[in-house]
Structure formats: C-alpha cells, structure tokens
C-alpha cells in the first residue's frame, strides 16, 4: 500500500532522510521510531507530498506521493506532528469545513459523531481557546472522520493523557482489524509495541533496523520485575527454564517465553511475592542499542 524506494530528501541544513526503503502492506500497522529530528516527520512530509524528493520515489496505492497528492488524499487521514488549525474557527465549523473540502458531508456524519464522543472532544468553543490535549483530539477526529484507507500519524498521542492514549490504541487496533493501512511515527515504545506489526528505527535520516523480529522479540520473551519477601528458590526457576537476573537483594528480573507465562505464575505461587511488574521494555532496549549514548546524555 505504501512503498518507499531509495528516498532521499535533503534539507539545506544537511538534515533530512537518506536512501529510505520500506513497504507497508495493506492492513498493516507500521511504526517509525526515533527521537526528535531523526527523520520521522520528514518521512511523513514526503508521503503527504509536502516536499519533493531529491532522489527515489514514494507511492501510496501505486500513486506517486508528490505528483498525485490530491488523489491520494481522497482516502488518507493525517495527524500532523505540530498541531496547526485555523485558530479563529470554532471546532464544529472547522470539522464541517474539512468535510466540505473533502466533498463528503452526509455519509460520514455518524463516524464523526462517534469519534467526538469517544475522545470527549469539546466542539463548541473556538480552536484558539482549546487546550493542547483538546487540539490533539481534534487532530485525531479530523484524521479519522472520513474513514480513510490509509492513515499517516505523526506523534498521534503526544498530548493525550493515559486514559485517552488507551482509547487511541483501541481505535488503531479496531481500524487495523477493518483492514486499514497505518503508519505511526512515535517516540513512545508503549503505543508502538501495542499497535504495530512491524517497526523501523530511524536514526539521522537512515533506517537502522527494520524487521518483524523487533516486534517478535518483544512478543516472544516477556520480562517481569519481581520482588520477593524472602530469598526465592532459584533452582526451581532454573529447572523450568526461566531466565533471571538479580537486580538487588530479593529483586529479580525474570524472563519467560510468551507461552510459558502460566507456568511462571504457578512456580511463583510457591514463593512470597511482594511485587510483580511486567517489564515492557524490550522494544526500548532495542531502541537504546542505537540511541544509547544520546539518550543517556539527555
């Protein structure tokens, strides 16, 4: 559905994206990870047709992103990384305007109402008076309200509270079930891990790792942080093939295969467990492999 081949887009400050290659199949959720100014937004900018490439080609549904931008938009939803609306408009007025610009007015009214309800979007006030979280919700409703086939989402949950983030993840999973093709650029491991089939890590405009394995790794091996009230029977853990790492006195990180969790629970039931936390850091670890130094400095 989305295909990017040897895409290079250089800015005058030397930044940009370089020889990017990736494909997103129909019905797939693809995650783009990387910190600020790694090239995530530029990637989306290229797909949106805002900037022409110096080299290479990007297509959506077989259409060239720069040349057929308007046709592509018929079936595309977009959440910008930097929220900018027509500030002097009222929320409803803006949504109506966007619907008119898309030329679909009546058909999708129900979807729009459902989205407004789901994200508790305030629709009466002027946009300039909205909080940043409300604006983020407005961006979500704007992107999804015409029920597009392809979604390009740049930091879609950056301003949402955890409750709304969960609702957003649910929305993505529902849309995925309905066969939508979704590209999410994000710095958040959690939402990427929960939604994406495949992940690409972008660094300084290059894709440094891209495969299903990233996702699989995190699915295959679960990691838990466990605090015991008394020294645990490590032999028993070893016997069932669980990995463990001592973090502090009576504090362990225990790893288990995805299909052995019930067994782990049974084994641990014999111990005095005080704290049992899921450690969903797997993707983050992979990420840190590439960004370790910078992240630690920051």
């Amino acid at each position: 559905m989305i295909a990017v081949k040897d895409a290079t887009l250089k800015y005058s400050n030397g930044k940009g994206i370089f020889d990017l290659n990736f494909k997103v199949q129909k019905g797939e959720v693809f995650g783009c990870m990387g910190p600020e100014s790694a090239g995530k937004t530029t990637t989306i900018s290229m797909l949106m047709g805002f900037s022409r490439l110096n080299k290479g080609v990007a297509t959506i549904a077989g259409l060239n992103c720069a040349k057929k931008a308007a046709t592509i938009k018929k079936n595309l939803g977009y959440i910008p990384g930097e929220l900018a609306f027509f500030e002097n408009m009222r929320v409803n007025e803006f949504l109506n305007f966007m619907a008119h610009m898309r030329g679909k007015t009546q058909k999708n009214q129900k979807i729009r109402e459902a989205l407004i309800e789901r994200f508790e979007l305030e629709t009466r006030g002027k946009i300039e008076r909205l909080s940043i979280e409300m604006k983020q919700k407005l961006a979500i409703v704007t992107a999804f309200m015409h029920d597009p086939e392809v979604l390009l989402l740049d930091e879609p949950t950056s301003n949402l509270d955890p409750r709304m983030q969960t609702r957003f993840v649910d929305l993505i999973l529902e849309e995925k079930k309905r066969g939508k093709t979704i590209l999410i650029a994000s710095q958040k491991f959690g939402e990427i891990e929960r939604t994406c089939d495949r992940v690409a890590v972008i660094k300084e405009g290059h894709i440094v790792e891209q495969n299903e394995a990233i996702k699989l790794k995190s699915a295959e091996t679960k990691s838990y942080l466990v605090k015991f009230g008394a020294p645990p029977n490590l032999e028993e853990l070893k016997r069932y093939g669980f990995g463990f790492k001592k973090l502090a006195e009576n504090n362990y990180e225990i790893t288990a295969a995805g299909d052995h969790i019930d067994l782990l629970v049974k084994v641990l039931s014999k111990e005095k467990v005080i704290v049992f936390n899921s450690n969903a850091q797997t993707l983050e670890e992979i990420f840190l492999k590439y960004y370790g130094k910078e992240m630690q400095k920051a």
Partner: protein, 268 residues
Amino acid sequence: MSLPLLLKDLKNNIILLLVFVVMMSIYLSVIIFMYDPSGIGAFMDMMSLLPVSLVNALGFSTVDAGLTGFIASLYYGFLIYLFPMVYCIILGNRLVVKWVDDGSFACLLSTPNSRIKIIFTQGLYMLLSIMFLFIILYIVGIGVSASLFKGVLDVLIFSKLNLSACLMTMTIGMICFFFSCVFNNTNLSLLFGAGIPILFFLFDMFGGMAQSLAFLKKYSLYSLFNGLAIIKGEANITMISTVFAVTILLLFAGSIAIFQYKRLPIQG
C-alpha cells in the same frame, strides 16, 4: 476552484474588505461633495496653504475644472494608490503565507485538493474582492454625482478611470500575492510584497515632486495609470489595460507554478 475555500476566504476577510469599501466610498462621496461647479476656488485656496512640492507630490497640482476631472485628480490621483495598496498587502499576506507560516496550510493539503486548485482559489479571491471594491466605488461615484450634480459626470470617462484603476490595483494585489506564494515566512513575504508596491508609490510621489526626480516615475507601475491623461483622452486605455491584464496573468501563473513545486516547511 474550491467553493468551500472561497467561502472561508470570504468569511475570514469580509470585514477587511468592508472597512476599505466603506472608507473609500466615504472619501469618494466627500470629494464629489467638495466639488464646486462654479469653479474650484475653495479647494485651490485650501491647497495654496500647503507647500507646493507636497501639492505636486500628491498630484493635486493640475486640477481639471470639470467634475470628472476633479474626481480624477483628487481621488484617482493619490487615494486610489494608497488605500487599495494597504488592502492588497494585508490580504496578500493573509491568503497564503500566513497559513504556510503557522502550519495550518497542512489542513488544506490533507484534503483531496491540489495545490494548484487551492492557490487558484486564493488568487481568485484576491481578484474578485478588488473587483467588488471597484464596482461599489463605481456605483457610489455615479450615484453621488447624479444626486448632487445631475448630468455633470462623464460616465464613459469615469468608467475608463475605474476600469484602469481596478486593473492597476489587481496588479498590485497580484504582486503581494506572488510573494506570499514564493516565501514560507511572513516577514520575507512582507518585505517584498509590501516593499515593492510602497517603492512604486514613493517613486510616483517623489517623481511628481520635482523635475529632477521625474525619472523615478519611469520605474513605478503606478505611472502607467494617469487619471488626467484619461480625462484628456490622451491615454490609450486599451494598451494600459492590456499591460495590466497581462501582468496580472503572468504573476498569477507564476504564483501557481512556484507554489506547486516548492517545498513546504510544514513540520507535519
């Protein structure tokens, strides 16, 4: 052309347009009201109080005795440059670069409308609103003249005056619009979009002030339009209108072409 966008432009900018329409209509009415059919003594007395060079700069030096000439020199000699120019600068900035600069242009581009279509709509609004302004001025001019001095206004010449002034303003509007499309930054757009019309204006004004500065007029677009020459029948209206119209079309086409291919700095 995108109708919803044109309507949004209208809604955004109707107040601006009405302010200029009302202001310029009042000015025109007052000037017609000031006309004294028995001579232009009262006005010239007033002008004699001002320094000669200022009177020349404002183009008030050679006031024709007829009503049409009176309007041509007092209204179409100076005010017709200044006020519409301010309108064009403000509107030109609002129509494109403001939205590019603050990022909201991305909203328009996330809909199935091509850049060409969007920019064409914005430019069309610029031209249509200027046309509206001059249609109102035309009606006000004829209406007020008819009620105060029946049968004195030369409607044909007044039409020619209005037509060429309208085309001239559209040209200025398109200059502002062009730079609004070229730049991604409001300040740069204003530097050129406002700077060039203001330079034209100053050249025209200083050029009229002293003989030694007359050469400046050659470099001003405003000099193409000469109200008094139109009154005296010396001006070639067809030629002037064609020059303006061609300039408008070239600038419009240029605006669209540049906007179509440029990179938008949307931090998407």
